[in-house]
Symmetry: C2
Subunit: 212 residues, 2 copies
Amino acid sequence: MKANDSTEADATDSAGNTAGRRRGRRPAGEDTRAALLAAARAVFVEQGFDRATVRTIASRAGLDAAMVNHWFGGKEGLFAAAMQFPVDPSTLVDELLAGGVDDLGERLVRRFLSVWDSSRGGALVALIRSASSHEEAARMMREFITSVLFGRLAAAMDSDRPELRAALCGSQISGLALTRYVIRLEPLASADPDTVAAAIGPTMQRYLTGEL
Amino acid sequence: MKANDSTEADATDSAGNTAGRRRGRRPAGEDTRAALLAAARAVFVEQGFDRATVRTIASRAGLDAAMVNHWFGGKEGLFAAAMQFPVDPSTLVDELLAGGVDDLGERLVRRFLSVWDSSRGGALVALIRSASSHEEAARMMREFITSVLFGRLAAAMDSDRPELRAALCGSQISGLALTRYVIRLEPLASADPDTVAAAIGPTMQRYLTGEL
């Protein structure tokens, strides 16, 4: 999965001095990838996640839209890489759904922690920071939660009011990110994943499948 | 309750051009109050909520510590006024506990919305914004959640792990504030209080009293 190795390439890209260059000449493919990431960041900020198209982003980079699918598997993967998410969110949703519905809430929290704990919140912290002060970042976060992540999970359940369920999931997970990584509220900030999953998993399970 | 009428005085104070002055000369009491608020903001930022003392704040304002109790009822009330919270949090906690434990979670969410909806999040949005980028604000938010608000609620329950429960409450309520007021995630952002209380109340109830 290409989005997985985006962190190094992205850090590199924003520093304007790539690991590739430090080691010698950068392969042509990396230039393509970096150009797409730069164009994606600009277009996602200007137009938000929903309105931005793969065609617009590729054209901004002077490349063919097929390059987006080749390098990032589609718009979600490109967004994830541009935002330095360590996983492709559509792959994540498929993976969670493949495990069934029974303990979905707990697996969701566990997967969230497995992705973000290693970087102490990483780019997600940056996104929450930006969303607090920039409407563009707020819109991206909003659309990403509804269109990509929890919207797709909630829609796959056989439950009423999927949009409200997606937003409720967003409220608890963004609050977990805020308290665990941003304000570092103890004992939640350093609780082990089992404790957090046992505590917050049932909340997510109810938001996705329970009585509201 | 003096902290309740803090919003106008605070807005006034930061504008440096008080309603009192506009109407004529400001009463001496208002000068005292404004001096205490200015000192409180400085000292809470420098030392955090826990370490800041009423004595230090009063002394910074060149006043006697008794003035803090007279005008704000104590450190919590002064903090609430300095942060432009529309209610005194210790009064809020007492009021919630007086209603019993049975539907505490739902009443908590309802009360939270009754306080914050009218100002679309008001100073709470500012605090979340600051906490995202300033360690001082993060520390204040952290200590406020644990020492004053949910810490006192959780400690009053007959439940295990009160600190974890307080932090879990903080994660859901701060996530609700983030999604409803900051990123305005629909349909949660404009859902009526009954819907939000019915959806999130049971989460708070479980965090305070249920199995974790």
